[in-house]
Each structure stands twice: as structure tokens, then as C-alpha cells.
């Protein structure tokens, strides 16, 4: 009989805790939904306090948490592309909310992010050493030990990859990721309309004999621009999104403008080298055709000497820069012995 009483008491306590828990849970879910609707992209910003409330293991959670670990001081590092990843995370969150509106997955998964400066405790709790880091905390009363992190080589760092991770872990779909297009459809239509209307007038202007299209100087400027862009590695900088300069790894105060190592380059480096190239070529043309028209002989001589010195220095600089960057030492092959 005592056993039965104890069991009934325990059941009552559990039921009461359950009721209380249910209340607490309803509050938590409601607050999470509220925070979610307030945020820009459906990602709830958590700090230590909020995290302890929403993720506490005392009361079982009915929802899962997908946590994005962020650190604003690392947004400057180009290789990490942390800001981009955070944007993708937001896209996945928005997609999930939209897809599961009114469905079974609603309020079952919440996306949140924690920032290093506000939530150092959480970082220490999960022992997060490297970024980026995304974790999934399953529903229930598991604590941080029960969470699983998203491995970089299993899911790529795109919104689709995050969606795949979420689906694999929770079973709920995120739906299609909608990326905002560069220009809205209306704007495109307006531009197209303007283009069609203006085309005949502009075309007539361009086809006339005195138009800029027939002036060889315009073409020459365009040609030099294409040359400059290409030879200075402009495409490389655009495709790889290289910055203009980097912070020196050893000395954060110094800035590095030239990348040491072949195959990669920084933005400023490209501009400097392109400028040096173009200068020499233009000087050659200049002294061939424009200088002889200068009347004063002394001025001619000065221009000549100036052009020669600058070209010489520029070529020397480019070659020494190339030697430093790639580490190659070009040398001639002199015969060392007869056989």
C-alpha cells in the first residue's frame, strides 16, 4: 500500500510538474515566436540569460534549437566568409518558417544565433573553439552534451546545406530557399521599357559620322582599360573576392599590400603592377609620336631622359617584385664544363 501511495504521489508530482512545465513551455514557445517575428530574418539572437531560459534541461523542450555561433570580430577575415554564412543561415530560417506555416513543423524548430561578446558562457559551455559552428539541440531534456554540430564536410556552407542538416536531424523540411534577386521584376520591366524607347535615338546618334564610336581615341582608351584590367589580375580578384589589403598575421597593426606566393594576389597589388605595365608601354608610344612635336630641343631631351628613367625603374621594379613574389630566380645557363 505504501508503494501505491508513493507511486500516486510521484505520479501527481510528475503531472503537476508536467502541467507547470507545460505552462512554462507555452510561455517559452510564445516568447520564441515573438522574438522570431521581431527579428529580421527569423533568427533569434540569444545571450546567456535567454539561452538558459530557452534551452534549460530542467523542463523538457518541445522544440529543437539550431544554434549559429557568430563572432563579429572575425567578420573581417575574408577566408572565413562568416557574414555570408550568417546570411545563408537567415535564408534557411526564413524558408523554414514560411514552409511550415500552419503545418506540423511550426514551432518545432527555432533558429537562433549567439554572438561571442554577448554570450561567452555559451561558447565555453559547448566548448566551441573554431568558427563557423552550427549546432542542433534536440527537443527533450538533453543538455549541451546531447547537441550535435554540423560538420563542414558533410553539409556545405549554403542555405541549402543548412536546410539539409536541419531536415536530417529533425525530420522537418525547410522548403525552397528563396534568394532575393538583384533587381525586382518591376524594375527590370521599367528598365527594359526605357531601353526600347531610347534605342532608336541613341542608335542614330552612334551611327552618325561624328559619333564617339568612330573616334579611334575612344577605342584606344577602351583597349587600354581592358588590357589593364586583365593583366593586373582583375578577374582573379573579382572571382576570388580578394580584398585590397590584408592584416599582417603576425602584427595586426600592419597592413599587407602584396601577397607573398605565386598564384594569388591582392587588390592593391594588381593595381600597382598594372599601372607599372601600362606606364612603360604608354611612354614608348609617347616618345615616339608626341615628343618629336615639342619645339624646344632641351625639352625634348628632358622628356626623353625622364621617359627612359621611369621605364627602366618600372621594369626593374616589376621584375624584382615578381622574383620576390614567386621566389624564382631566373638565370642563364652557362656551360659549366665541356662534357
Amino acid at each position: 500500500m505504501g508503494v501505491r501511495v508513493v507511486a500516486m504521489v510521484v505520479a501527481m508530482v510528475v503531472a503537476m510538474v508536467g502541467l507547470v512545465g507545460a505552462d512554462v513551455n507555452e510561455d517559452r514557445v510564445a516568447e520564441l515566436v515573438h522574438l522570431q517575428s521581431q527579428s529580421k530574418d527569423g533568427v533569434v539572437r540569444m545571450d546567456d540569460k535567454k539561452f538558459r531560459r530557452f534551452a534549460s534541461p530542467d523542463v523538457p523542450r518541445p522544440y529543437a534549437l539550431i544554434i549559429f555561433f557568430d563572432a563579429e570580430q572575425l567578420w573581417g577575415q575574408q577566408e572565413l566568409r562568416l557574414e555570408e554564412f550568417r546570411r545563408e543561415f537567415g535564408l534557411a530560417a526564413t524558408a523554414y518558417i514560411r514552409h511550415n506555416q500552419g503545418g506540423s513543423g511550426e514551432r518545432k524548430v527555432f533558429f537562433c544565433d549567439v554572438e561571442f561578446r554577448e554570450a561567452q558562457g555559451i561558447f565555453r559551455l559547448f566548448d566551441v573553439q573554431t568558427l563557423p559552428h552550427v549546432r542542433h539541440m534536440p527537443p527533450g531534456s538533453g543538455d549541451h552534451q546531447a547537441s550535435v554540430d554540423m560538420k563542414a564536410n558533410e553539409s556545405p556552407r549554403t542555405a541549402e546545406g543548412i536546410a539539409g542538416f536541419v531536415t536530417a536531424r529533425t525530420g522537418y523540411e525547410c522548403g525552397d530557399i528563396e534568394r532575393p534577386p538583384l533587381m525586382s521584376r518591376d524594375r527590370v520591366l521599367v528598365l527594359l521599357g526605357l531601353f526600347l524607347v531610347a534605342a532608336p535615338f541613341v542608335g542614330k546618334k552612334l551611327a552618325a559620322p561624328g559619333s564617339p564610336l568612330r573616334d579611334s581615341r575612344i577605342w584606344m582608351a577602351g583597349a587600354l582599360a581592358i588590357y589593364f584590367f586583365s593583366v593586373s589580375g582583375g578577374m582573379h580578384n573579382i572571382i576570388r573576392k580578394m580584398p585590397l589589403f590584408m592584416q599582417d598575421r603576425n602584427d595586426p597593426q600592419k597592413l599587407v599590400f602584396f601577397y607573398h606566393g605565386s598564384g594569388m594576389q591582392l587588390g592593391t597589388e594588381g593595381f600597382v603592377v598594372g599601372f607599372l605595365y601600362t606606364i612603360v608601354g604608354l611612354f614608348l608610344g609617347f616618345i615616339t609620336h608626341i615628343a618629336p612635336n615639342v619645339t624646344s630641343k632641351n625639352a625634348q631631351r628632358i622628356i626623353m631622359i625622364f621617359a627612359i628613367t621611369i621605364s627602366f625603374i618600372a621594369v626593374r621594379k616589376v621584375i624584382s617584385l615578381d622574383n620576390w613574389k614567386t621566389g624564382y630566380r631566373i638565370h642563364a645557363f652557362w656551360p659549366s664544363r665541356w662534357m
Binding site: 588590357y227 593586373s232 582573379h236 594569388m264 638565370h331
Partner: protein, 664 residues
């Protein structure tokens, strides 16, 4: 400007008999006299200027020919006559098949030894130009009773065609400006590292022949535009056919020619010569190109070829308009006609294009070439293209490495071209700029830009050297009174009216500077060729700590082990890099090879390699695999082995087609 041949050193003119010979009247005198006359004519042998120039020119061209061939032989001298890299092994195998079985068997070949169990239609999926060229060379040499092995012919095809390309560059330079430019262009192209990289002895790949065909087509086309002759246009069409049969890069030609024609039309340089040249080349070239099965009907169906067709029709409209203008005397009537024609032409053209695209008859640009227009496309959507190291964007040090001073002289050459605009120079400017732009997008395309850069730099060098030597050769003017005569006014530009003691010295100094620069260029090219571009990746060399060289022939040993120790119908699974080599040297069936035409099959192999042993075994049993070949760098420190690859790209390709981003 050179001294005439008549003024010889001893002041004698070219007479048959010189002084000091006395006529002998003995019976044998006739014979002796003829001997004497012959001897003295040899002693006083003096060429006329034109003959001197011809001799020097021919001697230089012969030397350039030999140099272009010789500087590509580093790897043959260091190792042996072996075929390099991976793709050339497939080309070698097909050439072998062609020489053994004949052309029809080759053209209709279905290869069941690769891509097991799918097989591969070889005849319809390759560009036959290279193989047919090598086979023809082989048959010709055999016909002349020179018992060569097909492998040696294949190895030396590339240097042979590089020499021919240098000759074509000479003719092209002559066409653009003058003979001096031609010579400089030939020598620059002969040693430029950008071209050497893909045409060393042993690099038996399509580009070896294709660059020759490219430059030949361009030269013939420019010649056709300059002369307006149908014969040259026909030659250009056949050159284009050779290019289409040799390399997929013919897309560049079929898009560059329309751009060139458009630029000429826009700048008001329409002429009948242009019309004849372009129409003939387009029609005949297109018909010929359709003979290659791999290309098929792409010239009328693929979006990449539509520009040429559009410009062709535009040319017809232009010609019609010009013709009507000549017939109609009344300008007002003509204006009305012009307006109607233009509207109609634009409308019909746009309608045709839209209908074609909408019904799907005209296919859009394929990924390979679309990634040139939108360079970020391949990285997101086709990782197998983005993973190739040759497809990375170019940093400036790569330009410096491959071009050295040519990239500095390029704007000077552009400037000289603009100062002296002709149809030919406009072409080379457009070719140079478009190819340079694409070379910036992909490292591999530096090869296509090399002839243009060499030609334009040659214009700069030749013009500068000519100006400097004109200054040097000027006779010192006689200092007359201060009366300014017309002659002196005319020569005021060159500054010859005042005795400038520094003029000649300055020119001489500049000439020395130019010489120093070109000598350094020669050093650079030789060093780069020797150290960077002459390694057959199938044989590796390294230096031990005591300085001795160690040669690793592991690849070939492994393949020959396969050939000798496995049954003939064994199937070998390996990563696709080694497929061609295994079939060519090991003579065994492979699952995937470098053709990479079936990404799912490659992904299956990748999955087998990346899974644990149980899963992998199931997959391999499904594929009927008997042997697995894995490359391991290990002790030698070979860095591009399979273990290293599995850190990066293999898993990315495995996860296709769902959205993939490289993890680097």
C-alpha cells in the same frame, strides 16, 4: 638606307674580270681564261641589296625554325622520348588504333575498354585532327623508308607544329606591317613560354596542332579581307576546318570573326572585300565543320554559334543596302528604303532568335563556355570544371611568368596599331584584347592569347628598333649657314638640322637597352622552359640531400605490372585522372577515365573510394571490378596523390547534383 651593293670596300664595281688578270693566248688559254674568270667572279662575288636581304631573312627563318624545335626538347634529352601527362595517352592510343586498323575502323570505333560497362563511342566524341595529322606524318615517313615508331612521331609532332606556327607568325607579321615585324613575331612566338607550355616534345595534345590551325586561319582570313580574293577565303575556310577537326576552341574563331566584322561595320569600314571574305569563310567553313561528327549540326543549332549566323545575315543586309544605294539615284528614296530595311531586318532577326530559343531548337551556351562569360557560374554549379587547376583565374605573376616583357610591350604595340589603323591591325587588336581578357579568367587560355601578344609586341619592338636604327644610320648633316632651307625644315622632326652630338649616342644607348631587354627575355624563356614546362608528369625527378638526382618511374612500373600480372579481361578501378594511362599502357579495361562525360559514374567511383570497406565492396562488386589502383605519395612526398585529393574535391563531386560549394 643601307649602302648599295655597288659601293664595295675596294671601290670596285661588280665586274666579271678584276684587275691583275692578263689574257693568255695559248691554246689552253680558253680553258685557263674561263677558270680565271670564274675565280675572279667568285672573289668579287657581291650580292645586290635585295639578295642580301633575302639571304639574311631566309637564314634567320631557318634558324628560328630550328630554335623553335630545339628548345622544346628538354624532356626528351633529360628522360626519354615519352608521352607526358594524362590526356595525351588517350590521343596516343587512338593514333595507334588509327595506324593499325585504318581510317574507317577508327572513325567508327566503339571502345568497350573504357567506362566499363558503358563503353564509349570514340569516333563520335573526339576531335580527329591531331590523330589524323600524326598518322599522315607517320605514313609519309614510312613511305620514305624511314622506319620510325608511331610513339616518336607522336612525341615530336608538337615541336614540329610549333616551328610551323612560328613561320605562320612571320607571314602574319608581314601582312600586318612589314617584314621586320614578321621576323620579330616569329622569334617571339618560337620561344614564348605561354606557347611552349602546351607544345613541348611529348605533349601530344590537341593544342599542339590547334594553335597552328588557329593562327593559320586568322592569317588567311586577314589576307582574304585585305585582298578580297576568293582563293584566300577558301584557304581560310579550310584552315577553319582544320581547326574544327583539331580542338574545341574553334568556338573562339567562330565568335571572334563576327565581332571583328561588327567592329568594322560600326567604324564605317564596310567594303566588298570584307563581304566576300566573311561570307565565303562562313558558309564553306560551316559546311566543312559539319563533317566532324563531334561537332555535327552545332553550327545551326547551338547558341554559341548564333553570333556568326546573325552577322552573316547582317552582312547580306548591308550588301543589299549598298547595292540599292548605287542603283537609286535619289537620296530621299534611299533613306526611306534604308529605314524600312533596317526595321524589317532587326524585326525578323529578333523574331527568329526568340522562336529558336523558345522552342529549344537553339540550345543555350554550354557550361564550359558559359563559365567564361560568368566566371562564378562553374564554381557553384559544375564543380568538376571548377576543380581543374588550369581553370583557375590568373594572377599577375602568371602573366609575368608566361609573357615576361611582352606584357609590358603590349600597350606600346596597341598604340602603334592605333596610330596606323588598317583592317589587319584592327583584327589583331580585337584578337589580342579578347584573348587577353579570357586569359585573365582562366589560366589555360594564356595559350590562346600568346600569338596575339607576340604579334602586337612584335609591332612595338619592330617599330622602335626601326626608328632607332634610322637615327643611327643617318649621315651627319653638313653644317651650312643659318638659312633655313626647305630640306632642313623637313628634317627638323628628326632634329638633323642641328649637329646634336647626343642624338646618335642616345639612339645607340637605347638600342643597347633594347638589346639587353631582349636578351633577358631569352634567358627568361629558356629558364622557364627548362625548369617549369619540361616535366613529363609520368616520370618524376627529385634531388637527394647529397645533390644526386633520383628518378621515380613508379607510374609506368605500376601500369606494366598490371599488364603483365593481371588477366586480359580484368577491370581496374581508379580515380578518373589515371584512366587514359591505364588503358594506354596497362591495356586493361577501366571504369572511369579523363573524358568525364558521365558524372554519375564518376560519383559512383568516388563513393566507392570514400566509403568504408563493406559499402565499397558492394559497389565494386556491382561494377564488376577486379583491381583497384590507388596513388599514394607517402615517402616521396608526392603531393597530388589520391589521399590528398579526398580532402577536397572528390567529396564535392560525390555530392553532386545537390548544391555544392567547395570546402576550401
Amino acid at each position: 638606307m643601307a649602302s648599295t651593293g655597288k659601293e664595295t670596300a675596294n671601290g670596285q664595281s661588280a665586274k666579271a674580270m678584276g684587275p691583275g688578270t692578263t689574257p693568255i693566248t695559248a691554246p689552253s688559254a680558253a680553258k685557263a681564261a674561263s677558270w680565271e674568270s670564274y675565280y675572279s667572279s667568285v672573289k668579287n662575288f657581291k650580292l645586290k641589296t635585295k639578295q642580301q636581304e633575302l639571304l639574311i631573312r631566309i637564314a634567320v627563318l631557318v634558324l628560328i625554325y630550328i630554335l623553335a624545335f630545339a628548345c622544346r626538347l628538354f624532356s626528351v634529352l633529360r628522360y626519354e622520348s615519352v608521352i607526358h601527362e594524362f590526356d595525351p595517352y588517350f590521343n596516343y592510343r587512338t593514333t595507334l588504333y588509327l595506324t593499325q586498323k585504318g581510317f574507317y575502323e577508327f572513325w567508327n570505333w566503339f571502345d568497350y575498354e573504357s567506362w566499363y560497362p558503358l563503353g564509349r563511342i570514340v569516333g563520335g566524341t573526339l576531335y580527329p585532327g591531331l590523330m589524323v595529322t600524326a598518322a599522315i606524318l607517320y605514313w609519309v615517313l614510312r613511305f620514305l623508308s624511314l622506319a620510325v615508331h608511331i610513339k616518336d612521331v607522336c612525341v615530336l609532332t608538337a615541336p614540329f607544329f610549333a616551328s610551323n606556327t612560328a613561320m605562320v607568325a612571320y607571314f602574319f607579321g608581314t601582312e600586318l606591317r612589314d617584314r621586320g615585324t614578321g621576323l620579330v613575331a616569329a622569334i617571339l612566338l618560337a620561344i614564348c613560354p605561354g606557347y611552349i607550355s602546351r607544345s613541348v616534345a611529348g605533349s601530344y595534345d590537341n593544342e599542339a596542332v590547334a594553335i597552328f590551325a588557329l593562327l593559320l586561319t586568322f592569317y588567311l582570313f586577314v589576307k582574304a579581307v585585305n585582298t578580297g580574293s576568293l582563293a584566300w577565303s577558301l584557304g581560310a575556310a579550310f584552315g577553319y576546318f582544320y581547326m574544327v577537326s583539331a580542338w574545341g576552341g574553334y568556338i573562339f574563331i567562330i565568335n571572334l570573326l563576327p565581332i571583328y566584322v561588327l567592329v568594322l561595320l560600326v567604324t564605317g569600314r564596310y567594303s566588298l572585300r570584307l563581304y566576300i571574305a566573311y561570307s565565303s569563310v562562313y558558309i564553306i567553313g560551316m559546311l566543312l565543320a559539319m563533317q566532324i561528327r563531334f561537332v555535327g549540326y552545332q553550327h545551326v543549332q547551338s547558341g554559341e554559334h548564333m553570333a556568326a549566323m546573325g552577322v552573316f545575315f547582317l552582312m547580306q543586309v548591308f550588301y543589299l543596302v549598298e547595292y540599292v544605294k548605287k542603283q537609286l539615284g535619289d537620296p530621299k528614296l534611299f533613306k526611306a528604303f534604308l529605314r524600312v530595311t533596317v526595321t524589317l531586318a532587326v524585326g525578323v532577326g529578333a523574331l527568329a532568335l526568340i522562336v529558336g530559343l523558345a522552342t529549344g531548337y537553339i540550345s543555350p551556351w554550354t557550361g564550359r563556355f558559359y563559365s567564361l562569360l560568368d566566371p562564378t557560374y562553374a564554381k557553384i554549379h559544375i564543380p568538376i570544371i571548377a576543380s581543374v587547376s588550369e581553370h583557375q583565374p590568373t594572377a599577375w605573376s602568371s602573366f609575368m611568368f608566361d609573357f615576361h616583357i611582352l606584357s609590358i610591350l603590349f600597350p606600346a604595340g596597341l598604340y602603334f596599331c592605333f596610330k596606323n589603323l588598317t583592317d589587319g591591325t584592327i583584327f589583331i587588336i580585337i584578337y589580342g584584347l579578347t584573348s587577353l581578357y579570357f586569359a585573365g579568367v582562366m589560366v589555360r587560355l594564356i595559350l590562346v592569347a600568346t600569338p596575339a601578344v607576340c604579334l602586337i609586341s612584335a609591332i612595338a619592338i619592330s617599330a622602335t628598333l626601326k626608328n632607332l636604327s634610322v637615327l643611327l644610320r643617318e649621315k651627319a648633316p653638313v653644317y651650312t649657314s643659318t638659312k633655313i632651307t626647305a630640306k632642313q625644315k623637313a628634317s627638323a622632326k628628326t632634329g638633323a638640322d642641328q649637329p646634336l652630338p647626343f642624338q646618335k649616342e642616345g639612339a645607340f644607348l637605347l638600342l643597347l637597352g633594347a638589346l639587353y631587354m631582349l636578351i633577358n627575355f631569352g634567358f627568361h624563356c629558356t629558364w622557364v622552359t627548362s625548369e617549369a614546362y619540361s616535366s613529363p608528369s609520368i616520370v618524376l625527378a627529385a634531388r637527394q640531400s647529397n645533390g644526386e638526382r633520383v628518378i621515380f618511374d613508379d607510374f609506368r612500373e605500376a601500369y606494366f605490372w598490371l599488364q603483365h600480372n593481371t588477366p586480359p579481361d580484368a577491370k581496374v578501378m581508379s580515380w578518373w585522372d589515371y584512366g587514359y594511362q591505364i588503358t594506354a599502357m596497362g591495356n586493361r579495361t577501366v571504369i572511369v577515365d579523363n573524358n568525364t562525360w558521365n558524372n554519375t559514374h564518376i560519383a559512383t567511383v568516388g563513393r566507392a573510394m570514400a566509403s568504408n570497406e563493406d559499402d565499397a565492396y558492394d559497389i565494386m562488386r556491382q561494377l564488376d571490378v577486379d583491381y583497384v589502383l590507388v596513388v599514394f605519395g607517402g615517402v616521396t612526398g608526392y603531393s597530388s596523390d589520391d589521399i590528398n585529393k579526398y580532402g577536397n574535391w572528390n567529396l564535392v563531386i560525390l555530392l553532386e547534383p545537390c548544391c555544392v560549394t567547395p570546402i576550401v
